[in-house]
Amino acid sequence: MPPEPVLSLAFAIVAGLVLGGSVAAVSCRNRVHAGLFLAVALVGLALVFLRMGAEFLGFIQILVYVGAVAVLIVFAILLTRGSDSAHERRSNAPGIGIGLAVLLWGVLAWGILHRSPGAIATPSPPPSMAVRDLGERLLREELLPLQTVGLLLTAALIGAALIALPEPGISPRPSGSHGSAGTETPPSSPT
């Protein structure tokens, strides 16, 4: 284990990464930049997990959130062609957002400080949670929630697929410019 100063320096860097990334993600006007900063913040979060020794959670964090969620977010921005809007207006009521954030922070802080007053002062050793234990826990005690979540996600997936399906009756293909033999309609151009 590296010495303590190195660790706290690492924590400072990681914390800076998370905070800087999050702030930039919400304040960036360019949506793609915001998405990339979100990815930075998520990587920072994963590093926090790693620093606490939760390797599995850290890796899963990157695998799922950076590899899938963040990529999907920027991909969606790309597909909807909103990435060029550099002249985006700022939110009308930034106060609401800031207020919500402060409120959330307050609740979390209250919860942490109030529920386990000793936890901050004397950090207890992290529970050793091997991957195998995690898996057994998920598939034994928490099986019902897991399956429910799976069902929910499947329903969401089917819904998304239904939305994405082309509507029947609308053909994107305009007719060819050469009238083929026997067509009575004149070749028309959709423009």
Binding site: R81, P172, P174, A181
Partner: protein, 389 residues
């Protein structure tokens, strides 16, 4: 402020017309070419894409326009012959033949039998190398990294070697003359040609083993770029493209120009008119060409190769007009000439098969993806020298 001194800045301008789907961002306008790795020559396709689906395609050409027809009207009849090499620079010998045929009709010249045989031999060799190269380029467009193309070029080199030793040049042959051919075969040429033809059959077997049953190739080409029979007829499509759509139209059979009536060959026809059929029709035509070549190389008679009455200098055909056409590897290549009795043609007009086959490109590509558009263009088989003239 002095505009010259102002710093040049680049900005992504807001769309001029928000209602236009290209500019409001829901569609993507991409210019494929003229500097694009898969356009055949300096050809441009203005493609409007919805995602990757082509919703509009405009072929843009003219980058290689050389004013050939007007130059020909100001050059002697003979002087246009080397320019016809540069029309379809893959198949200079068939272009030569079409022009020579037209002028011979205009001037009423006879072609000696040996010259007719030489014309058939060179034209069929040209067809072989053109079709092989086209199939190679098609696969190149499909991303096969040049392997089939290199195999095709290996055989093409052998044929070009033949051309070089016969005509003096590999591509710009300038071999046909009005009333025959420019020179006779050098010693040993016919034997060499026979061995090339034999080797080409083995190459075709190998080429088809490499490709014709490849699942990826089938998936990429079958059902893609379907050209219906009626459209092919209405749009004046000719050559392998028309035959792949089931149009039994081969000028070698229709006109029986030259001595094609003395050879036994079949005209393969496709039923689907898609890219795969165009590829297969070319492969099958190569086999038929090999049959013609085998017979021609065996039966070629001795004799002069040029009509002794034909004049090289001071060639002035009687006033009149003529249209000559041949089955070039790409389709019906026609020349239309009007003579006013002078040393230059009064009117000189070409019917280039590539150009006319290209006109239906949009119909083939609409609703398909960019990748298909590239493959379809490859299957049309164009040479920009002929399209732009």
């Amino acid at each position: 402020m002095n505009p010259a001194a102002a710093p040049r800045t680049f900005e992504v301008r807001p769309s001029p017309d928000a209602a236009d789907p290209v500019h409001d961002g829901s569609l993507l306008e991409v210019s494929l070419g003229p500097q694009h790795p898969s356009t055949h020559g300096v050809f441009r396709m203005d493609v409007v894409l919805d995602g990757e689906t082509v919703v509009k395609l405009k072929p843009v050409f003219g980058y290689l326009h050389r004013n050939h027809e007007k130059i020909a009207e100001n050059t002697s009849y003979l002087g246009s012959m080397p320019y016809t090499d540069r029309l379809d620079y893959f198949c200079s010998l068939t272009s030569n033949w079409a022009y020579a045929l037209t002028v011979e009709r205009l001037a009423g010249l006879q072609v000696p039998e040996r010259a007719e045989y030489l014309r058939v031999i060179t034209a069929e060799l040209t067809r072989l190398q053109n079709h092989a190269a086209v199939c190679g380029f098609l696969l190149q467009d499909m991303g096969a990294l040049g392997t089939p193309l290199m195999y095709a070029f290996r055989e093409r080199e052998r044929i070009l070697d033949l051309f070089e030793s016969l005509t003096g040049a590999r591509m710009m042959c300038n071999y046909m003359r009005f009333g025959g051919c420019r020179c006779d075969t050098p010693p040993g040429w016919l034997e060499q040609a026979r061995s090339v033809v034999t080797g080409f059959g083995a190459f075709l077997d190998e080429f088809e083993a490499l490709l014709s049953s490849n699942e990826i190739l089938l998936g990429r080409t079958q059902g893609i770029g379907i050209l219906p029979r009626e459209l092919a007829i209405n749009a004046g499509i000719s050559g392998p493209m028309a035959r792949a759509s089931g149009v039994a139209y081969d000028i070698r059979k229709v006109d029986r120009y030259g001595i094609y009536d003395q050879f036994e060959f079949r005209v393969p026809l496709g039923d689907h008119g898609d890219v795969f059929d165009r590829y297969m029709i070319r492969a099958l035509e190569m086999r038929e060409s090999l049959r013609i070549l085998g017979a021609a190389l065996q039966r070629i008679p001795a004799g002069p190769v040029i009509d002794p009455k034909a004049k090289l200098r001071g060639f002035r055909p009687k006033p009149g007009e003529s249209y000559g056409r041949i089955e070039s590897p790409k389709g019906e290549l026609g020349f239309y000439l009007i003579s006013d009795g002078g040393p230059n043609p009064w009117r000189y007009r070409i019917r280039p098969p590539s150009f006319i086959n290209l006109t239906i490109l949009e119909d083939l590509c609409l609703g398909r993806s960019v990748a298909d558009a590239v493959v379809i263009l490859g299957s049309v088989d164009i040479v920009l020298g002929e399209v732009d003239r």
